[in-house]
Amino acid sequence: MITTATTDTPTATTAAAPPAPAAAAAASAAPELPPGLALQKVDERIMTLNVGPQHPGSGHMRIIVQIDGDHIVACDPDPGYVHRGEEKMAEYRNYITNIPHLERPVIHDSCNILYPYVLGVEELLGIETPERAKYVRVIAAELNRCIYTMYWLAIYGIFLGHSTMFMWPAGDRELLIDLMEKMTGARVTHAHFVPGGVRNDLPPNFEDVCLRQVNYFEKRIKEYADIFYDNPILISRTRETGVLSRQDAIRLGTTGSVLRASGVDYDVRKKEPYDVYDELDVNTNVMTAGDSYARSRVPWLDMMESCNIIRSALEKIPKSGSVRVKLKPNPKGGNDTVYKRVESGRGALGCYIVSDGKPEPYRVKMSVGSFRNLIALPYLLKGEKLGNMPAVYWSLNYWPVEADR
């Protein structure tokens, strides 16, 4: 009989994750988490599968799955294959040159991942952002959220074996990428947000083009319902699989669409509005089922909501005005710490900046949605069929590079 060393339980990492803000009250009343998540000694019946890192069904990570026939006995996600030390690198660069680096973990959501950093630096340096710049930022952030979600949706489609659902979002995403390119000059890594506004003003005639393409985009994503979201095969595959109850979702510290799919109405844009979100009409989509289907549907509904936000922002944006405050070269912050949170495509994304009066930050720490959602994976996969693994795994709205940073 072969025996392998029992690896650490992922429970240890659970405690280290920052608790979700809404979880504080529910934490005491929450039931015990399901036991037995550790990888088992290798029984004769049990086969250990390495899913990843070179696997079409894993991201840049490894999931060690132990299966008994077709049932998953235990599962241990093993991220860390794409760690690049962005947080450490940020301590050696000044506040401006950090910008192209900090957006790298999620390049197709680069505006959103830069957003909390920029907000934090503005607070550190005491800059007042012009009104028009705030609107431009919101438009860019919402466009970027859609771009990210389309990418995520494309991969969700191919994970479920639906190649059309890979190609359509990948193509329709191009509409928004085109807008972002007109707006910022780069297709994915925009480096557009800077402390004190955005790098450049909107190009002429941008509002009309944006409105037209966003309207068409919304029409397109509504067509996904027939072929994907209302498809009976998809529904039967994802319904009732990987059910995350409301209490577990809060207790495990999940965030974003995963939290909203479990029935918790939590959205940073609504609860702690930043920039001009309090002037816009933001609705959140909440589903109560908490299964893979709900988790896959909430981002899709969020995209339509983003389209609404973009439209209303385009209406309300001041027609003229500066978009950027002129900064001194090498700005310095005081002895201060600041924590800012925004809603990214994957959920609440916080940035914690410690300044010690130098042009470089003393510490930059990002609290990302991907990692917090990944923590739920072993709990959801235990006892599931092997065929449910990709459906549950990718419905967690997880992006491997962001988890590693």
């Binding site: 003003d201 068409y216 405050v325």
Partner: protein
Amino acid sequence: MKTATGIIRALNSGVKHLAVKRFTLRYPEEKLEFVGDGYQFDPSTGVGIAGLKGRHMLFHDHCTGCQLCSIACEGVAEAIGMVKVPEEQKQNKKSIMPQIDYGKCVFCGLCVDACPFYALYMTNDYELSSFSKEGLIYTPAQLAVKPYVRQDSSIQITERGATHG
């Protein structure tokens, strides 16, 4: 019954899309249209002008050899180095100008933001490729050339779907 109608609806949607226009941009034959002449920066107001962040363009008669672009790049990509140029410019006493290694450049445009003398802009040229790493290093003389970029395709939204045309 619901299953059957769902399956029929999905099939119907699939067949309907056989008549929708193709979205693909056939790249070497068609090339995208961009806004403006590339990303530029106005140091007097501190705001950029929207445009593609492509290959840089260096105006030799403006460049003073102040190395601000190189310093801005240090924390990002370390792609800009200052090299001696043979020519004599009266504003450029040291006769040094930036030389950009596009094997390293990430096209963030922070060097353009850093230039206070209207010397370094970005252009629409994005087709940079070479057979060797050395070929990607653009000397100041190469950077001074204004590129020609064919732009003939943009997204058209019609009744039968969006397409590049």
